[in-house]
């Protein structure tokens, strides 16, 4: 069977982890330009209704999980064939898998798995060290921690809305950090954030080892899972005995209102 035989379209929903305007969402959708997907694949990007300011504490992790869960909860009913999470933290992957039968792809676990197929060990290069815990969480969860040769940061505060804009000075630092990882034994470099996709081409052109671009990889793996009829194991991600989608929706509506009130107090106090 090939596409030419009239395969059905594959609809992928990518969950962006913040409330973003169209321009900010477009910067994330630019990941689609990294490599052409098969023609039958349709990808939509969706922002969350609310979010933590960034991903540096356990407070942030649980807020990220709940906001991404809400954002993806209706994906299957909306006709999507797979969900990709647009953050290497793999936020909400487990919760969404417990609620959805369609594949839910975490780019963190996916890139560590693929890196393990391409070399003995991989390294993770990232923007700032505040993100280190999100890597160890996923590595431990999928049992590939001992394949990680190291994690290195360039200590440049990221901007999850404008991404790498105005951060050209980061590129040489990323090269330097990646070379240190290679020195430490990394055979493959993984990017510590999907938002670093704008640096991927530069890194691949200047490093002697494969560099994985986690967002685009996740779209290809989503299509592969749909084509193979594979999804996550229900035994690993059991259903809730009492799902509460309406409560979750109400929580995020309330979170959105609270954020709006905080951002625009004059509008909501009148």
């Amino acid at each position: 069977m090939t596409e030419a035989d009239g395969s059905d379209p594959v609809r992928i929903l990518v969950l962006a982890p913040f409330p973003l305007n169209d321009e900010q969402l477009a910067l994330r959708a630019a990941q689609l330009e990294a490599a052409p997907l098969p023609e039958r694949v349709v990808v939509d990007f969706k922002p969350t209704k609310a979010a933590p300011a960034n991903y540096v504490s356990h407070h942030d992790y649980v807020l990220a999980d709940i906001s991404m869960l809400e954002s993806g909860l209706s994906a299957e009913a909306d006709g999507y064939d797979a969900v990709c999470i647009d953050t290497v933290s793999d936020s909400a992957v487990s919760a969404l898998r417990s609620m959805l039968d369609i594949p839910v792809i975490g780019p963190g676990r996916t890139q560590y798995a693929v890196a393990s197929m391409l070399g003995r060990q991989f390294g993770i290069v990232t923007m700032w060290r505040q993100w280190f815990p999100i890597y160890s969480r996923v590595l431990n969860e999928i049992g590939l921690a001992d394949r990680c040769a190291g994690i290195r940061s360039i200590d440049v505060a990221p901007d999850n809305r404008t991404l790498m804009a105005g951060k050209d000075h980061a590129f040489p630092l990323l090269i330097e950090a990646s070379k240190a990882l290679i020195e430490d034994g990394a055979d493959v470099i993984c990017l510590g954030s999907t938002t670093m996709h704008e640096a991927h081409r530069h890194l691949q052109d200047h490093l002697p080892v494969p560099v994985i671009n986690p967002g685009p990889l996740s779209y290809f793996i989503a299509e592969a899972l749909v084509a193979l009829g594979l999804t996550h194991s229900r035994r690993s991600f059991p259903r809730s005995l009492a799902p509460k989608p309406d409560m979750i929706a109400a929580m995020l509506d309330a979170a959105n209102s609270a954020e709006t009130a905080a951002t625009h107090p004059a509008e909501t106090s009148s």
């Binding site: 070399g119 002697p208 080892v209 994985i212 592969a224 193979l228 594979l230 194991s233």
Partner: protein
């Protein structure tokens, strides 16, 4: 258009190759990637001992050594043993897909623990080696076999009714041992995949079709294996490898094929 070479680990005839090629029709594939099959020229007859494993490593190396020069864009090894994959990676820049390690590692993205369905008891040693080599033992719920000598040529043809229920029973034993995902222990089990996937309540990874989707992904993203993990030899000896297999093929020419792979 990309060209992929699939290396078949036994010297089987066209009909046997066609039975392996059926795997292509079990999954939706891109129409800008074409696949060609090539069998090894000689090799082991059984696949149960280090003697056999070593011969197959060399046989696959011989069969794939010229792939890049011939214009292929990637190589897929059609055996979960991943025989010859490391040696080929050390000689080729194009991606070389090893479905064994790929399916076990990939299964970790789908569930906590995998179980491996093996053909028969003598095949178990090879999986034990893979689990150790790849450090995956603590994520493996177990190995179970269905006690049936393999037929690498005819696969399950004409024997489905007798064999598939035994495969299903072995899979259910793996689930009872805690497997959240089943990995088929051989690309030759592909004929049973749709039945097993439909009756089991855990994902069943079909290693051949998975390897085709991975090759598409690596080609599209411009990824290949790391040269630092698979260094080039300082002194490649392709002519020596070719000469060894000219001799091996000559030696085997009179013999009827027979044997079994993983």
């Amino acid at each position: 258009m990309s060209r992929v070479l699939i290396l078949v680990p036994f010297a089987i005839d066209a009909a046997g190759v066609e039975r392996r090629a059926e795997q292509q029709r079990e999954v939706s594939l891109r129409n800008d990637v074409t696949y060609e099959y090539r069998t090894v020229r000689a090799g082991p007859t059984s696949f149960v001992s280090p003697h056999d494993w070593l011969l197959l490593d060399l046989a696959i190396l011989d069969a794939g050594l010229g792939a890049q020069a011939e214009g292929f864009d990637a190589v897929v090894i059609d055996t979960v043993s991943d025989s010859g994959a490391d040696a080929l990676r050390s000689m080729l820049d194009i991606p070389v897909i090893a479905p064994g390690r790929a399916s076990l590692i990939f299964s970790l993205t789908l569930g906590r623990r995998f179980g491996v369905l093996a053909q028969w008891e003598p095949a178990l040693a090879r999986y034990e080696k893979v689990l150790d080599d790849w450090g995956l033992r603590d994520r493996c719920a177990g190995l179970e076999h269905f006690d049936t000598p393999p037929d690498f040529d005819t696969l399950l043809d004409g024997k489905e009714g007798a064999i598939i229920p035994r495969m299903e029973a072995a899979c259910r034993r793996l689930v009872a041992r805690g497997a959240d995902v089943i990995c088929l222990g051989s690309t030759t089990m592909h004929q049973a995949h749709s039945h097993l996937a439909s009756v089991l309540d855990v994902p069943v990874v079909n290693p051949g079709p998975l390897s085709y989707k991975l090759v598409e992904t690596l080609l599209a993203l411009g990824l290949t294996h790391s040269r630092s993990a698979y260094p080039l030899p300082q002194q490649p000896k392709p002519a020596m490898v070719t000469a060894m297999f000219d001799a091996a093929a000559e030696h085997e020419r009179a013999d009827a094929p027979g044997g079994n792979d993983v």
